[in-house]
Structure formats: structure tokens, C-alpha cells
């Protein structure tokens, strides 16, 4: 088999991603009923996660430390990926303090930060449900840290339920790095797309070497 045939085979080999049975996945997330900032009831797994790629974080409306900065970063992420937002990529911001954050408070927070954007949902609900989701998504619940909500995990959780992959990224790193991490979980690409991206990457590397003397920023 020559190389060209091999590549064609790769291209033909692609099959639709199979969605595994729901119960298996629900156990990894939670199907708790939550309320959106539009006061709409949604089931967390069935309505928000199933088959989707999403970026998830925890925040609370009157948080003055990390949340506004992280939200600002997420707005930049949204801007960069706006063509995909709400179509095959979603953002979910869940409240840490559902007792004090009703849908109206979340909507106010979103408006204030310019985060009332398509594909981005703020969520509140029963404290137990949110706690369950937080524990399951951010399983870094070392007893000494994570039970204290003041030390909540401000990491961004990136999931792609269709391909069954999870990743994470710190919101403090550069926008470019966050976008790269999100792209790590993009749906599978065709070999043509892979080769095209590879070609572009090589051009960037060459330019970087020309500029910096070695591959430094790509």
C-alpha cells in the first residue's frame, strides 16, 4: 500500500462518533435539574452536556476576587470562538453559592461583565446538585481545600462528551494557551484538515525561528 492509499484509507475510516449509553455518563456528571440565568429548568447532563463540547467553571455573583477576572478571560475566549459558540461549543458558569445566586442575580452578573452571550449559560439550583457537579467535575476535593468554597477550584474544565475526553486549563494563563487547550478536545479532524493545520504550524515555526533564533513562541 503506498502512502497515498494509506491516507485515503485514513480519510475513509472516519465514522460518526458513537454516543455511549447515557446512564454511564450521567454517573460521571449528574443529571440534576438546574435553573439558567433565564430562569429555565434544564437537566445538567441531558440538556447541557450530552454529546457536546463545553467549557465549565464555577463562580458566584458577588465574588470580587477571581471571578470577574476569570469571567473577563472567558469573554475573550467567547470572542475568539464566537462562530462555534452555541453551535458545537458551549460555556457553563455554575454558581458556588446557589443560596444567594438566583437566576436574576446571575443574569445581572452576566450583564455587568458583558457575558450575556450566545452559548454561555449561567446556572444555579439546589445546593446539593451543584455541590455534586462540582465534586464530580473538579475531583480535586482534598478535604483540606475543596470543602471550603472560598478556595474553590477556579480551573476551567473542558469536556467533550461526544469523544469522552476531559481536560482542564487554568484561566490565568494566556488566552492563546486557553484556546489551545480547548482545541485539544475538538471533534476529530479529517486527515486533510490535520495536514493543513500541520502545514500552517510549520510556517509559524519557521517564522518563529527566523525571529527568535529558535522555536520559542509557537
Amino acid at each position: 500500500m503506498n502512502r497515498r492509499d494509506l491516507l485515503i484509507n485514513f480519510a475513509n475510516r472516519r465514522a460518526p462518533v458513537q454516543r455511549p449509553d447515557t446512564p454511564y455518563r450521567v454517573g460521571r456528571f449528574s443529571n440534576g435539574v438546574l435553573l439558567t440565568h433565564e430562569n429555565k429548568q434544564v437537566k445538567f447532563y441531558d440538556d447541557l452536556i450530552h454529546g457536546r463540547q463545553a467549557v465549565i467553571n464555577f463562580m458566584y455573583a458577588n465574588c470580587t476576587g477571581a471571578c470577574p477576572l476569570i469571567t473577563e478571560k472567558l469573554v475573550q475566549v467567547h470572542r475568539a470562538l464566537k462562530d462555534r459558540m452555541g453551535k458545537d461549543l458551549f460555556m457553563y458558569s455554575l454558581t458556588l453559592y446557589p443560596e444567594q445566586d438566583d437566576p436574576a442575580a446571575l443574569k445581572k452578573f452576566a450583564t455587568m461583565h458583558g457575558a450575556l452571550l450566545p452559548g454561555w449559560t449561567f446556572l444555579t439550583g439546589d445546593p446539593y446538585d451543584l455541590e455534586t457537579i462540582r465534586y464530580r467535575l473538579f475531583r480535586e476535593n482534598h478535604i483540606k481545600f475543596d470543602l471550603d468554597k472560598g478556595f474553590h477550584a477556579a480551573q476551567l474544565r473542558i469536556i467533550n462528551d461526544a469523544t469522552n475526553h476531559w481536560a482542564h486549563v487554568s484561566p490565568n494563563v494566556s488566552l492563546e494557551t486557553i484556546l489551545q487547550h480547548i482545541s485539544w478536545l475538538d471533534p476529530p479532524k479529517s486527515i486533510e484538515e490535520i495536514r493543513e493545520e500541520n502545514k500552517i504550524l510549520q510556517e509559524k515555526i519557521d517564522a518563529d525561528i527566523k525571529l527568535h533564533g529558535y522555536r520559542r513562541t509557537v
Binding site: L7, F10, R13, P20, P23, Y24, R25, V26, G27, R28, S30, N31, G32, F44, G65, A66, L69, I70, D126, P127, Y128, D129, E131, T132, I133, Y135, R136, L137, R139, E140, N141, H142, I143, F145, F151, A153, A154, Q155, T163, N164, H165, W166, A167, H168, N172, V173, S174, T177, W184, K189, I194, R195, N198, Q202, I205, I209, G213, Y214, R215, T217
Partner: protein, 647 residues
């Protein structure tokens, strides 16, 4: 069933190895989140909150999830497999200095020193899906293996023969399995140019290949001449390496799926045979016969599914320990000396090994190399465990003449595994759960024996003189120095890992004294910190608090201080809590991007990792350091306490 899972589920006062993994294993292919502290054997604490109200169901039991108990296996059924030697090939398209994008190669910087080290041998290693039988009592298990095998083929070469290894990504392009089908291959711990070093961010997708150029020269190419046909300082020789996937955030997953293999280099001192040749130490040296790789790992399996004909593995800490991919294998030996190249391929487990004689007593063995580097003098260990951290390599010599023909000798692992088949203790005081594998002394030697191990193995290079210093401080904390920091994460010098940001630069050809400092709070875990590129020498260890770390303490007690602190060249530095080590490192011959990271792959994937660069010129160095200082000032971060006045 291991004891650690028997405690009450309500006892969530202890984080466990298992809980950590839930981060890693969640939804099949997660990356472990930041703060992951592993304590070795405590309770299994289910981490959902206690139900009070709400609509969320408790996690439904699924057919195979973390914490499943592996099906039983009978001990000593399978023979220890020896990974085959990788065969040389002629690559098409031909390897090139610049990436052959049109031919399907992954993007990369051009090979450094290509003209000086034109490849004399070529290998083609594909990462592809396959099945592997971990035990005869199991049906085949789906794996990703180098050339479909687990462990992958052993690549064996001589120093002085540069090679190209073409790593081809033939992983499925649409896998719901827990691996991620992008790879970047690191040769641990080759003296390798950055573009061939498997930088965590340099992964490439299915359908592409990448040529890694291994010059197989000793470090010090620029400053030393040629010795017996090999460039560089022969005292920098290393012999046992490990090639494995280093994909950022998915290293745990892809390695547990099987992307592991050994890489051996021979030279005059260690020629790969036992004949009396000039300069040879004449250690047992016939690969697969008297020179045996032992690649250790941990795995966990779902119940066998006869309908599908599979015993699948689950992404998790293991409850089965494997040697060369087999559970509790046996290996026939004759009454003579053998060399075992022990490599812990992780993902997270520390092995604590000793040899147990048929009477249940510990039998002596002799350690000749640590992290692939020969010790100055052989170290006989007859009392206490040998701790093998993830990625550590120990070459040991066992003289089976101490046992009569017919003896059964055991490799004992301190942490019991799940066997599941009631079995009497194979030796007095040795539960079957603690047996990693068995050696059967089947007869007298038929091919002679090697002479006694020399009293002096090698001369070590002199301790280099540093021209600068730097401190790497590992923390898991809520950085108080930043207004936006309200959370904990793995930090190195107050910053999270960003593969696009460089946190320290060094000048090619220079030597620096680096301090690795473990300030990860509330951790009783030893972080095996790995530095890519060159071997280091520990000059000083500071123990601010002696936390209960029997393994590390034993290392300190057993090694003569001289060996622990001055002589053993290493690339994995075990770093218990509140310990700091100072080490001297040189940065010779190549430039580019390199890494320091914890080699517990859960931590590595949680980005207990940092990037540093080697640059070519002093002006470049000064400019880059100014960038780093400016960046830190702009973030309100302290300038590192060492090295700040140098630019």
C-alpha cells in the same frame, strides 16, 4: 481486595490515591486537576457530598468504573516475556533535516547538528491500537502499543551510531477510549535536541509521523573530543532509557494504555556482550538471556466479558502490578549472575522492591546503575527495600549462585496487589499479594558466568562549577501574592504551567546550580521530579521536616552520603515534602525548550510542570531573562531569590 478500599465510605477525611485518580479517570479520559496529592494507602473515600436535598442521583453503578476490583489471576502461570529488539529499517520518505511536511511529517524545528550526526540506523515505530493479554486467565485487553506491543520493542544501539526513530501516529482517529490520539515521544533521559525531545506541547495527530533524531553521543560534544569513536565525555554515558508518550495533560492515559518501551545504548564499558573486550566491565550482558529488562507498571481490569472476548482495562490506579506486561510472571534462571534493568513506567505507583530467598529472608543484590548511570562503586543492598519512583531506572545484578538448583526466589513489592485466588504464602512471611514475580533456578549455568563485579565501576565526571543559580519552588496553594488568586493549583515559582511561556533560560554550554524545593503543603507524597536533557548531581539536601517517608529515609540511610549527595548522577530527583535539593546541571550541545515536571503522571497531567529554555548567545540570554523579570514584576510576583543580580 486491597485493604485500602475497605474503610467506610463516609470517611472522607483522607484523600487517597484513588480519589486523585477520579480526577484523572472521570469520563474516561480526563486530565487530573491541579491539586492532586497522593497518599499511598488509605481509605477509599467517596467524594460526593452527603445527600440532603436535590434531584441528582447518586452515581449509578456502571459495569466498569474506577475502583472496580480486577478479576482474579493465578500466580506464576505466565512466563516473563522479553520485549523484542526493534528491527532496523530503511525509511521512506527519507529522513530530512527539515520536517518533511509534504511527506506527512509533523511540524518541528530543523534537527540540530544534523550534518555532524547523520543517521546510521533508522527505525519505524508506530503507535497503534492492538490487544495484549496481561494474564492467561484474562481475555485480550485493548491497548495502544508501539508497533502494537506492550511493552514496545526495545531499541538497542551503540553509542556513536546516530539514529532516526520515526514515530508514526496510527492511533484511531475517533476513539471513545480513554487515551487521546495525539502523541509526542520523549526519550527519558536522552541528551536530545529539543525538537526530538518530546516536549509536552509538541504532540502530533493521527496520520502524521515525526522523526526523532537521537545522536547517541555523550554529553559534552562541544568540549570533548572523540573516545573510541564516540563524541563527548565518556563519563556521561547512560545505558537504560525509556521512550514514552509525553502528551500534555494525557500522559497518564496514554501511558497506561501502553505507549511505553525501553531504549538501550551500549558502549565500550557496557558493550552488550560478556566477552573480555577493552574497557568492558563484563557485567551480565546478553539481552534477553542474562540482561533482562523489567518494565513495571500498574493496571486495573474490568470483569472479563466473554461475549466481546475481552478483559478491558480501566483508567485508574492499578490493583494488579505487571512486569513486562504480565501479572505475577515467572522467569527461569540458571546459577550465575544476571542483570535486571528495572524501569518503573508508572503511571503513579512507587515500587519498593526486595529479593526474597526461598526461606523468606531477604537476599542481597547489587545495584550498579541509578537512572541509567553507573555508580562509582557497586552498592550491595541486603537489608531494606529499593524504592523505584516512576521513571527511575535501577540496574541490579543478582547472583543466583547463592541459591541451589530448584529454588524459587521472589521479587517482593511492599504494597500488596489484588490476587483474588487463595494461595498459600510462597515463602515464610511472604504473602502472595506481595509477590511481583518469581525466579525459578532451573539449573547450573550453561554459558559460564561473568567475572566478579569490579570494585570500581566508572570514574565520575568532576562536579562542574556553576556560573549561576536558580530555584524551582513547587507549591500547591492559594497564591496570596496575586489579587486574582483565590484557588489552589500546582504552581512552580507562583505560576501555573503554560507551555508557551518560558520561566527560566540558560546559556548553552553553561552550568547552573538549581534548587528544587517541595513546598507542596499537606502532601505526604514523594514527588519524583524529572529534569529533561542532562543528568544532574545532587550536592545538598535540606530536610526541614522529616515527614514519615520510609522509602526516602531508607534511601538516605542506605546510600552512603557521598553517593546520595555527590556521586549518583540522576534525572529523577525524589523530593519528599519540605525537602529541597541543590543540584548541578550542565546544558550542553543543544538549544531549545525543555521541561521539569513531577513524574507522577497524575501530577504531570495536573501541570506540576514548568518550561525552561537553552539559548545560544549571551545577548539572547540577557534579553530573555529581562523578559522573565519584567513579566514577573508585571504580575506582582517576587523575582526569584537566586540569579536576580546576574543580568
Amino acid at each position: 481486595m486491597p485493604k485500602k478500599r475497605k474503610k467506610s465510605k463516609k470517611d472522607n477525611s483522607n484523600i487517597t490515591r484513588r480519589d486523585m485518580l477520579k480526577g484523572a479517570g472521570a469520563a474516561g479520559a480526563a486530565a487530573v486537576m491541579g491539586p492532586i496529592m497522593l497518599t499511598s494507602r488509605k481509605s477509599f473515600a467517596f467524594q460526593d457530598p452527603v445527600p440532603t436535598t436535590g434531584t441528582a442521583p447518586v452515581a449509578e453503578p456502571v459495569s466498569c468504573d474506577f475502583g472496580v476490583v480486577s478479576p482474579p489471576t493465578r500466580p506464576f502461570i505466565d512466563t516473563l516475556p522479553i520485549p523484542a529488539t526493534a528491527t532496523r529499517t530503511t525509511l521512506f520518505p527519507r529522513p530530512t533535516q527539515n520536517a518533511n511536511i509534504g511527506g506527512g511529517e509533523a511540524a518541528r524545528a530543523p534537527h540540530q547538528r544534523w550534518g555532524e550526526f547523520l543517521p546510521e540506523a533508522e527505525y519505524s515505530i508506530q503507535g497503534r491500537p492492538s490487544t495484549h493479554r496481561f494474564h492467561s486467565d484474562y481475555l485480550p485487553t485493548y491497548i495502544w502499543g508501539w508497533n502494537g506491543g506492550y511493552p514496545g520493542p526495545t531499541i538497542r544501539n551503540n553509542y556513536g551510531d546516530p539514529v532516526i526513530v520515526r514515530f508514526k501516529n496510527d492511533l484511531p482517529d475517533n476513539s471513545p477510549h480513554f487515551g487521546l490520539n495525539e502523541i509526542t515521544v520523549h526519550l527519558h533521559n536522552g541528551h536530545t535536541a529539543s525538537e526530538s525531545d518530546g516536549f509536552a506541547g509538541d504532540f502530533f495527530a493521527t496520520g502524521l509521523f515525526k522523526d526523532n533524531h537521537y545522536v547517541n553521543a555523550y554529553a559534552g560534544i562541544d568540549t570533548f573530543g572523540t573516545t573510541a569513536g564516540v563524541r563527548g565525555d565518556p563519563r556521561e554515558a547512560m545505558h537504560t532509557f525509556w521512550y514514552h508518550d509525553h502528551r500534555a495533560a494525557f500522559t497518564f492515559n496514554n501511558n497506561q494504555l501502553g505507549l511505553n518501551g525501553m531504549y538501550i545504548l551500549y558502549d565500550r564499558t557496557d558493550p552488550g556482550h560478556e566477552n573480555a573486550t577493552a574497557g568492558s566491565l563484563r557485567l551480565p550482558g546478553i539481552y534477553g538471556v542474562t540482561d533482562i529488562p523489567l518494565e513495571l507498571s500498574e493496571h486495573r481490569f474490568c470483569a472479563t466479558d466473554p461475549a466481546r472476548g475481552r478483559t478491558e482495562q480501566v483508567l485508574d490506579f492499578g490493583d494488579k502490578w505487571t512486569v513486562n506486561g504480565k501479572i505475577q510472571p515467572k522467569f527461569s534462571v540458571r546459577r550465575r549472575k544476571y542483570r535486571f534493568r528495572i524501569l518503573n513506567t508508572g503511571p503513579t505507583k512507587i515500587f519498593n522492591l526486595q529479593l526474597v530467598a526461598p526461606n523468606g529472608r531477604q537476599a542481597p543484590w547489587t545495584i550498579v546503575a541509578v537512572d541509567a548511570n553507573f555508580l562509582h562503586e557497586p552498592w550491595e543492598l541486603s537489608n531494606g527495600n529499593l524504592p523505584i519512583f516512576v521513571a527511575s531506572r535501577y540496574d541490579i545484578i543478582v547472583d543466583f549462585r547463592q541459591f541451589p538448583v530448584g529454588s524459587k526466589v521472589y521479587l517482593r513489592e511492599d504494597e500488596p496487589q489484588n490476587v483474588g485466588v487463595p494461595t498459600p504464602d510462597p515463602a515464610s512471611g511472604l504473602p502472595i499479594e506481595n509477590v511481583l514475580m518469581r525466579f525459578d533456578v532451573v539449573g547450573e549455568t550453561i554459558n559460564g558466568d561473568t567475572p566478579p563485579i569490579p570494585n570500581t565501576l566508572v570514574e565520575l565526571p568532576p562536579l562542574p562549577t556553576p556560573t549561576d543559580c536558580f530555584q524551582w519552588r513547587f507549591t500547591l496553594e492559594f497564591p496570596k501574592l496575586r489579587p486574582d488568586a483565590e484557588f489552589e493549583a500546582f504552581l512552580v515559582n507562583e505560576l501555573e504551567f503554560d507551555k508557551n511561556r518560558v520561566d527560566w533560560v540558560v546559556l548553552k554550554g553553561s552550568c547552573e546550580e538549581w534548587e528544587l524545593k517541595n513546598d507542596v503543603i499537606a502532601s505526604d507524597w514523594v514527588h519524583p521530579v524529572h529534569i529533561h536533557f542532562e543528568e544532574g548531581r545532587v550536592t545538598e539536601r535540606t530536610i526541614r521536616r522529616d515527614v514519615g517517608l520510609p522509602t526516602e529515609r531508607r534511601v538516605r540511610q542506605t546510600l552512603k552520603p557521598d553517593e546520595d549527595f555527590r556521586n549518583a548522577r540522576r534525572d529523577v530527583y525524589p523530593l519528599p515534602e519540605e525537602n529541597a535539593v541543590k543540584l548541578r546541571l550542565q546544558f550542553r550541545d543543544f538549544s531549545g525548550r525543555y521541561l521539569i515536571h513531577c513524574h507522577n503522571m497524575g501530577h504531570e497531567d495536573g501541570f506540576m510542570m514548568v518550561r525552561w529554555d537553552v539559548v545560544n548567545t549571551r545577548s539572547e540570554l540577557d534579553a530573555r531573562r529581562r523578559d522573565i523579570f519584567d513579566f514577573r514584576r508585571s504580575k506582582g510576583l517576587p523575582i526569584v531569590p537566586c540569579g536576580q543580580n546576574r543580568t
